[in-house]
Structure formats: structure tokens, C-alpha cells
């Protein structure tokens, strides 16, 4: 084991131990769980702008689709979360493909505005179709997550009842942890696979990718589906965790927040996406605590928040952990070279 893996494992263990610490109350666990939800979202969004180079401003739409899929299935059919998760992921992926397939020939900001319009339509649907979603009244009282193994325990011994309901923040903390680790390793595998390499090729130059035999359109659709499915998984977790949903939880500001996380962390870099979620969520909470101590009213929190965001970007234009390929691409020498080639009409 080299130092890096050792450090990583130590970190994982440290995170796992947090709920056992004496000062770890509900608030800390809640914030950490929230950070982990955003980690999953950031890793999901990362697929489209980070790995494929398409600017997606409407990621929150899939988050909302997932959350409401889970909320409605729980409230109307009392399905178990473990059954809902794959359904929600599938539903998210379907919507990802439905949104992605017609927009394949769009580039740059035209794609961005369509994704944005899509997420606004999702929110409008959730708000206005009261018969289905209860609209702005929201879905209160969604049952918490639970593990029901009573069928197994009853078969072994009729006395046993293996049934646990997730109450309090601890079980959700661990569940979110498993979710983050699971998604992270899945994405790592995909990144290193043929699919991931195809995505990188598309991001760098889709024309070159196509001439190298990559079916650009198929791989883009796969990217949309994967990204949307991850967003929907995070949404289903949210539904069972907060036990309350309302359409205004999925306003487009959330899309921007997640986008800021991955850009701040280093676009295309998964560890960066994780770091970006930690920074942006923790910053909001830290400011809530620090500003009143400096004698500043609660109203100033977002002034400072916005300013810090600008300053981070100013001094770390490629994010905390820039992806190497990207960094090289923005090396001044290479930039100059590309420009001069472009000017000559070579590229």
C-alpha cells in the first residue's frame, strides 16, 4: 500500500467514525449528509460538461424527477426504497435520453439553454399538475427509508423480526456514504473503460473522435442517460431523507450550485467534484456561524458567499484540482500554438 491509498483509506475510516464522536449532533450529520447528496449530484453532472464537454444548465430536472418518482411511489404504493432506487434511476435515464436525443446536433450554449428550458418545464410540471404531485402544497410525510428483512428472519426463526426503520440522521449518513463511494467507484470504472475514453475524446475534439471511429451520438446519449440516472438516485435519497418534497426545491439555482461545485473543484475531475461540494456547502454553513460572531447580520451571508466564489475562481481559474489534460490544453504555449495554427487555417 502506498501513502496515497493509505491516506485515502484513513480518510474513509475517519468519515465513517464521525457519527460516533461525542459532539456529532444531528446538525453536523445533516450537513455532512447534505454534502454527500451534492457529491453524488456533482459526480452525476460531471459526466456531461466535465467528461463530454457539453454545458448542462438543467441538471436539477433529473434530481426532481428522481425525487418525485420516489416520493410518489412511496406515498401511493408504499414500495421499499431499495426497489424504488433502480426504478427512479431508470426513469431518470429515460428522461435523460428523451432530452438528449433530439438535442444531439446542438452545440455550446444552444444546448445549454435547452437543458435549462427542460429543467424549468420539469418544475412547472411539478408545480401545476396538482392531481399528481399536490403542486405547491408539496408532498409531506413521505415514509422514511427502512430495511425489511422480516421475510428472511421469519423463515429462519418466527420469533425474529429483522426490520429497521431509518430514524435520525445516522442511518442516512451511512447510507449516503455508501451511495457516494458506490457512485464514485462506478464512475471511476466507467471513466477508465471504453465509454469513458470515448467521452474524453469527444470533449477534446468531437470531429477527431468521430474520425477515429467513435460513434459520437451514441456515446453522448449514454452520457446523458448515466448523468440523469445518477441525479435521479440522489433525488430518491433526498425524498426519503427529508420526508418532504416541494417543487421549489428544484429551482434552477440548484443546477447552478452543482455546476459551480464541479467547476470549482476542477472540471472533469471527480475528486474535484467531491471537493467542490464540500467547499460550497460547508462555506454556507460556516458563514452562518461566523458572520454573527463578527457582528454582521444574517442578511450579509450571501454577499460574502458570492464574493468568495468570485475570489476562488480568480485565483484558481481551473479549479482546485484541474484535470491534467485540461490544464495542458490551457498552457499558454499550447494555447498560442493552437491559435497560430487556427489563424493559418490548419485546424
Amino acid at each position: 500500500m502506498n501513502t496515497k491509498t493509505l491516506l485515502r483509506n484513513a480518510l474513509l475510516l475517519a468519515v465513517l467514525a464521525i457519527p460516533l464522536l461525542p459532539f456529532a449532533g444531528d446538525y453536523l450529520l445533516h450537513v455532512l449528509t447534505l454534502i454527500m447528496v451534492y457529491m453524488v449530484l456533482a459526480m452525476g453532472l460531471n459526466v456531461v460538461p466535465g467528461l463530454c464537454g457539453m454545458l448542462d444548465l438543467g441538471f436539477v430536472g433529473f434530481y426532481g424527477v428522481g425525487a418525485y418518482t420516489c416520493g410518489l411511489l412511496t406515498m401511493n404504493y408504499e414500495l421499499s426504497l431499495w426497489l424504488i432506487l433502480p426504478i427512479a434511476a431508470l426513469n431518470g435515464a429515460v428522461w435523460g435520453i428523451l432530452r438528449g436525443a433530439p438535442t444531439l446536433r446542438l452545440t455550446g450554449d444552444y444546448f445549454a439553454i435547452v437543458t435549462f428550458g427542460f429543467s424549468e418545464l420539469v418544475v412547472l410540471f411539478l408545480t401545476n399538475e396538482i392531481w399528481l404531485t399536490r403542486g405547491p402544497l408539496g408532498l409531506p410525510g413521505i415514509a422514511p427509508a427502512s430495511i425489511d428483512l422480516s421475510w428472511l428472519s421469519k423463515a429462519i426463526n418466527p420469533e425474529w423480526d429483522w426490520y429497521w426503520e431509518f430514524i435520525g440522521e445516522k442511518p442516512y449518513f451511512y447510507m449516503a456514504f455508501v451511495m457516494v463511494v458506490g457512485v464514485f467507484f462506478m464512475m471511476r470504472r466507467i471513466e477508465d473503460s471504453r465509454i469513458g475514453r470515448a467521452w474524453f475524446a469527444i470533449r477534446e475534439d468531437d470531429l477527431a473522435a468521430a474520425s477515429a471511429g467513435i460513434d459520437v451520438q451514441i456515446y453522448k446519449v449514454i452520457a446523458y442517460a448515466v448523468s440523469a440516472a445518477i441525479g435521479a438516485v440522489a433525488g430518491s435519497f433526498l425524498a426519503r431523507w427529508t420526508m418532504f418534497l416541494s417543487p421549489d426545491m428544484f429551482k434552477f439555482w440548484e443546477s447552478f450550485l452543482v455546476l459551480c461545485m464541479i467547476v470549482l473543484g476542477g472540471l472533469g475531475n471527480m475528486t474535484g467534484a467531491l471537493l467542490g461540494s464540500v467547499v460550497l456547502i460547508a462555506m454556507g454553513e460556516l458563514l452562518r456561524e461566523i458572520l454573527p460572531r463578527l457582528g454582521m447580520p444574517a442578511e450579509t451571508r450571501f454577499i460574502v458567499y458570492g464574493l468568495i466564489m468570485v475570489l476562488i475562481m480568480r485565483f484558481k481559474p481551473s479549479g482546485f484540482l484541474p484535470k491534467i489534460a485540461d490544464a495542458a490544453l490551457h498552457n499558454p504555449i499550447i494555447v498560442e500554438l493552437r491559435r497560430s495554427l487556427k489563424a493559418k487555417g490548419v485546424v
Partner: protein, 295 residues
Amino acid sequence: MLEQQLINGLTLGVIYALIAVGYSMVYGVIELINFAHGEIYMFGAFFCATFITAFGLPFFPAMALAMICCACLGVLLDIFAYRPLRRAPRLAPLITAIGMSIFLQNLAMIVWGSRPKPFPQEALPAFFHETALTFSGVQLSWLQLFIFSLTIVLMIGLNLVITRTKTGTAMRALAQNQRAAALMGINVNRIISFTFMIGSSLGAVAGILVSVFYNTMYPTMGYNAGVKAFAAAVLGGIGSVPGAMLGGIVLGVAEALGAGYVSSLYRDGVAYAVLIAVILFRPTGLFGKAVRQKA
């Protein structure tokens, strides 16, 4: 009723167009989605009202002063948040734009308070709210006429600046190829600042007209307007000034007709549906040129 709805839509549309032009100009020159533009629009309204109430200025000088202030604000924004990132990856300035938007919105909330404020009506010419025209049951106030004519004048003026002046030519050169423009002796930063000045002062005009027309202004008003204007700019073909004007009007009319004939619940939905449909059939917007670009 249709005529009335069209007038409603047009009033909304020309205002979107004014904001969208600012977006589009900045985008044309440095390929940046300036999300803080909606905040400039909001500041324009608040500056104008403050000059009237605090310094007792009449409406038109206050408006001119607010335009100047917003032009400076736009330039400062560029210098502080965007200029250091000219060579950074493309999404970096987008994030600073979002950061500045949060910052400016909350700053306005601290300075002017969060509650909606009426525009100081006493400073306005008295005839503004009188009916100017009535035809087939449609009423048009002098204010609406003023909004239409001012917008048209500004747009024509802008077009002249872009096509007939040296600075305008430099702007167009910059939009085509920044490096080549620099080699031709164009001071790139100065032209970019000039673009921010023009775009921001047009945004300020839009903010003032909206707050006069609806008699209300509040610190979060830039948020929705900015988004709509961005949509309008993309609809018209982002980077194209006439496209932004047309995009704004199309979006405004679509919204009014959507609210009037489809369902007011899906008012914005109709606007976005039109937007998506147009882009799917014309992937570079109404007036956009097909340019291969990299994210």
C-alpha cells in the same frame, strides 16, 4: 382581445429585447454568458429611483445618470471578475458571473432593503399614464408609446454605433478574431470595456422602464429578467444584436399569448417550449451563424 394580448406581449418583448441585447453584445465579444447582467438591470432601476428621491432630480436626468452609473458598474464588473480570467477555461468566468450575481443581488438587499418599492411617480411626466390611443377596444398609454419609441431609437442608435463607427468596427473585429484584432492595433481591453458600457446602460434603461411601467422594483427582479433575456438572446442567435431584439419580442409575445390562451400556469412553460422548438429546428437560433465552437 387578441390585439390587446399582442400589445401586452410587445411591451414585455421590447423590454426583454433591451436586456437581451446587452447579453448578446458581451457574448459576441468575449463568449461569456454574463449572468450578472440581470443585476445591472436591477441596479439601473434602483439608481434612478434613488437619484430622484435623494437628490430631487427630474426623471430624465436621473435616468441618464443611472445609465452612466450602470455603465461604470459594468466596466468594474469586467475588470474585477472577468478580465483576470480571459485565458482561463471557458466555464471559469461563468462561475464568477454567478458569484457576482449573488453578490450584487444581496448588496442591493442590504442597501435598499428587501421589500418591493414603488417607483417615485411624482417625478414622471403626468401624461405618462393617460391613454394615448384607443383602437378596437385596445388601450395604449403614453408610457407604452414611450417605451416602444425609446427602444426603437436606442436600437437604431446602437446599430449605427456598431456599423458606422470605428469603435463598432473594432467590436465586430474582436468578435471575429480577438488575436487578429489585437494585431491590427485594436486595444482589446478598451473595446471590451466599451461593450460592457453600452450593454450595461441598455440594461439600466430596461430596468428603469420596467419599474416605471409596473411601478415596482425589488432586489430579486434581475433574476427572472436575466434568465428570460438570456433565453431571448439564445433564441435570436447568441452574439447577434438584431437576433437578440427579435428573440426578446418573440419570447414576450409567446408569453402573453401563452398566458392568455393556453394557461397562465404554463406561462413560462410556453415561452420555453417555443424556445426549445425554435432551437431544435434552427440549432443556431434565428439569426445565429453556424460556428463550430468548443466548450
